[in-house]
Subunit: 348 residues, 4 copies
């Protein structure tokens, strides 16, 4: 089959590789019908992931059709349309039984190399999905591939960040960073009961899109986000901050924007090992802070239901649709920020 493989910094290629096959009885093989390039794939592209060897198939956003099922798979049958999580989880261990699927004792991330379980990725014609019963969901009737696709990754990441904040209906939210994850955090927060969502980003097009979706735009190149948000919350700050950039400057901003007793939920990935946590200030302000990778399996059913009910439209972030064969071009555009989100269409 054809697949997108890694070969070094900014060097990804579509090449012929061996077809995947069932390796474990809990596996499913799917024919990938739609995929996408994720922001975290750029870390691969920049050769920043240790243990990623040349030739590894990359990618982890996927919708497909079940081709073959292992003997332990009970929930799926050949021919069913499925969407799946970017990370896999066994569903049996102590962590999974607590619904802490992102802490699964046997987990891994698709297409991320040796340090993440050495699992081939999904930017390919076919892909092997381990622990398929837990990791996959049937695409609900009436949803297109693109509508379902992001429930396996960035939509549910964004939704989970909001869920982790304990958002109560009527509360106010600031989303820092309006890339694809941030845009979905805006939509999730509104769908989950926020009375007002401030969308902070340096790039005007991004805050414009957020505004169209119902947020109050805070173009941080033009206005001071702290002043703007204090002003828009009667001087209090927001109840919840979703940090979707990563790194100290935006984390610091998050602590500025949150009200006393508020919560910060961070999903932005960073290479910084530590952050100078404002301890004294937080002691007085009684702030809750959580940073963590997405827990897709926990929330995937909820996001699929919200998309199906028309409450969230994740496709608004898509800027480009390319055939799998042009994946290298897709990475280039995405890396240069000429594309906001690239779909890799298996049917093209």
């Amino acid at each position: 089959m054809k697949a997108v493989t890694f070969h070094g910094e900014r060097d990804v290629r579509v090449e012929r590789v061996e077809d995947p096959r069932i390796q474990h009885p809990a596996d499913v093989i799917i024919r990938v019908t739609t995929g996408a390039i994720c922001g975290s794939d750029l870390h691969l592209y920049h050769n920043a992931i240790p243990g990623l060897l040349p030739g590894h198939i990359i990618g982890h956003e996927y919708v497909g059709v079940v081709e073959e099922v292992g003997s332990q798979v009970t929930a799926f049958r050949k021919g069913e349309r499925v969407v799946g999580a970017f990370h896999v989880a066994c569903g049996r261990c102590r962590m999974c039984r607590r619904e802490a699927y992102n802490q699964c004792e046997h987990g891994g991330v698709l297409g991320y190399g040796i340090a993440f379980g050495d699992l081939a990725g999904t930017q390919a014609e076919y892909a092997r999905i381990p622990f398929a019963d837990t990791t996959l969901r049937r695409v609900p009737d009436g949803l297109t591939d693109e509508q379902a696709l992001f429930s396996g990754d960035i939509l549910t990441t964004a939704y989970g960040a909001v869920a982790n904040s304990g958002l109560q209906p009527g509360e106010t939210v600031a989303v820092i960073g309006c890339g694809p994850v941030g845009i979905m955090a805006v939509q999730s927060a509104l769908a989950m009961g926020a009375s007002k969502v401030f969308a902070v980003d340096l790039v005007r097009e991004r805050t414009d899109l957020a505004e169209k979706l119902g947020a109050v735009p805070v173009p941080s190149g033009e206005v001071n986000p702290s002043s703007r948000i204090l002003n828009g919350t009667d001087g209090e700050g927001v109840d919840v901050v979703i940090e979707a950039v990563g790194g100290s400057p935006t984390l610091k901003l998050a602590f500025e924007l949150v009200r006393g007793g508020g919560r910060i939920s961070a999903v932005g990935v960073t290479a910084e090992d530590t952050f100078a946590y404002p301890l004294m200030n937080s002691l007085t302000k009684d702030v809750t802070f959580r940073i963590g990778l997405a827990n897709i399996h926990r929330d995937m059913d909820a996001t699929l239901a919200l998309v199906r009910g028309g409450r969230i439209d994740p496709t608004v972030v898509v800027s480009h649709r390319l055939p799998l064969s042009q994946a290298a071009e897709g990475y280039r555009l995405f890396d240069k920020r000429e594309a906001s989100k690239v779909i890799l269409d298996g049917s093209l």
Copy 2:
């Protein structure tokens, strides 16, 4: 001053009465700028409330301006615009400290006669509001009287019914009864994260309005609600039913519509003393049932925030705006169902 007073079945009059005055140091006197006739006022109109004596001032939906404050009032000052709860709560007793304000040991309902604390109502030029610090809220900047008005009664009643159900984002909801409370339950459920809301009513105009607001209309005169809703939930039934009619037939329907493990939250008022609860069936189905009067003080801040943020528009239910002097005509129209909701405008 002028006020709407009760004089027997279908006999309400606007007449001159004495101005209210501070009776207790926790009282506030407000000049009522906007009021409305509530569905529950029709019980008065039908002379169905024991202990309601002729001459009693009725009404309990109100927005106004503070005219005078008692010596114990700390949160309000003369001249502030306020909206208040239809029932009063001391804020100090064991029940209030648990946020069970509708169980306040010193509570009462405005304009409902002796059995409810003998408190004069608010369909008047002026009104006395006991326990003002707890019972009133400042109208947030930017909200009109009509936008704020329903947070003191039917909007927060509807919202509270949804909150009491423990609705989780992504769940499905059926609202039985699309009068003003039902319509606001539809809006609340959507604002709080429902993926899909089914709006059930015999009257086509009502389900049409619900549809405009985002619900799936279930005109129960034309389609069987059980079949329609089972069908629309992949055969499961809804996660949550909001019963907003009152009485056995709609309660029975609620038990039909709810899925196994689901919740029924009822706010419909009925004269029936008991209901034949489907015990055996619920044992297997593991259903949670709650019926209770609204707990306005608990949720008023949340609904005001949602209205202010544009997430809920409670004014959609208003069909008529009359001056206070035409209150009798307002009651007549509302009783004949020629009006869906009558505003009594203090400025007219």
Copy 3:
């Protein structure tokens, strides 16, 4: 092998039957080391379960050792000690994904006949456990069979009833009925933060046992439970009632004992089809009512942890220990209330 089989009213026999075998790849065969007779087994004994045919193996409280695993079983291996739920759940369907395991689309109850999935019971030398990955748990190190046993049934039933009530630390609880389930509800409520638990029963020995475990005894043959409990709660009634008898009289009592805004969680099984729910009274009192079968899979890890940590001792209810061969005598004693709980010991 030998097994306890049903043959009609008050006629159970230990007889030779065929050994169970793997019928489905998700099955496990266990050698039963310890079992017990459950209160609900008395319904069988009284021939009150439709669809229970002569010769059916009964029983559903069990601890054992894994003998054989089906090809889809991933969590268990031959030789491991396990305890399991009395009902089985697939772990894959929509209901299981919501943790509503008692509503599983493929569920059933062990040893309860055709109407409950036609699954052979566990009062036998060997038993087949369907959906073993979901239904079984390893017995934690350091626990005896008897300590683990009840986490698969009555302890987790009682615990779940308390969990379903939404008990908050510091609240008061009344447990109506102090049979084995009630006694475990007393222990669960105390372990989960109740400040005070009232234990109501007609039988003095039962309230004595509850008192020894930390409850306030309310022997309802000697004192009026309503007066006693109002008195013991500063005139309010309790926050939570656990109804563990079944039927209208104790349900009525539950509504008397609960405070305004409180919750009633019922697990008592009854043959009554309906209950005259106090609608009007509950509307004012804002009571939440839930009745439902246990959801063992959801809470089994928690109860095992609490037993292991010494916070709950479920073995206090055991009055008799008999070899499997004397099961008929065990049923007789239990039915006559000469035994409070009968262990069937596979090693005797």
Copy 4:
């Protein structure tokens, strides 16, 4: 009257000062019957609190009898026994309405000088309590002064730290630091459903006391706490860490002890401005971190109920009982760690 006043580092004196009087209509004057020296009073003693002027009356743990009530006070009457929070809260502002009393817009700390609202302390014969309706509670019948005392400060601080962690019944907890707050965290965690509590401290007597109360002792001078706790949790780490020391070393330890997906709730006060938060590690581990001052008003009713029900005994930490006149000696002993907790008895 006599009162304990501050005069510089390690210089506190009992001297004659003016009696307090009602300054605001929401005030109450109490006659203090029992008080205590709090660990945070040692910060005063070390002259580490900016804005604390010589002559300021200190202390904030108190039980007393109401002597005089301001005209806005509705909940209390002369002669009632009361316990109160160490910080005051208006009960009316936006923060208080959210139950974020520790963020009250008009709050302050008793006896902590200018930077904390310039409120006289309670180590005195009489004390003025602002916002008395919100800040005080009646001492429940049957409780001694000492039993009630700590609900206004360290017991509820410890309880709140556990509550903030979202502890679920059956979970495991590590408490770092077994001074008075830590000991009460141990008791709170057990009362709220922990299956196992590890009590970590360098001082053997402290872990011995914790053990007597039901904890697993981890004397960190003798055993490595990480190994011990990993070992005692089947290699996972605990679900919840309560950090009750303050400062980077114990915070670092907290991150070592917590399992993936777990929560750290910190109440230890420190002078460090920032902490090197393990960002990268937490991203993978999905840890929630909260540090904040106690929110006494929110939880005081719960802790009083738990003490009254015999579930928590806060008096176990008391080592010395001195008359108010010997307060200076009390501070000396406490500062030298010769006393674990000093009661100042107004009756002596």
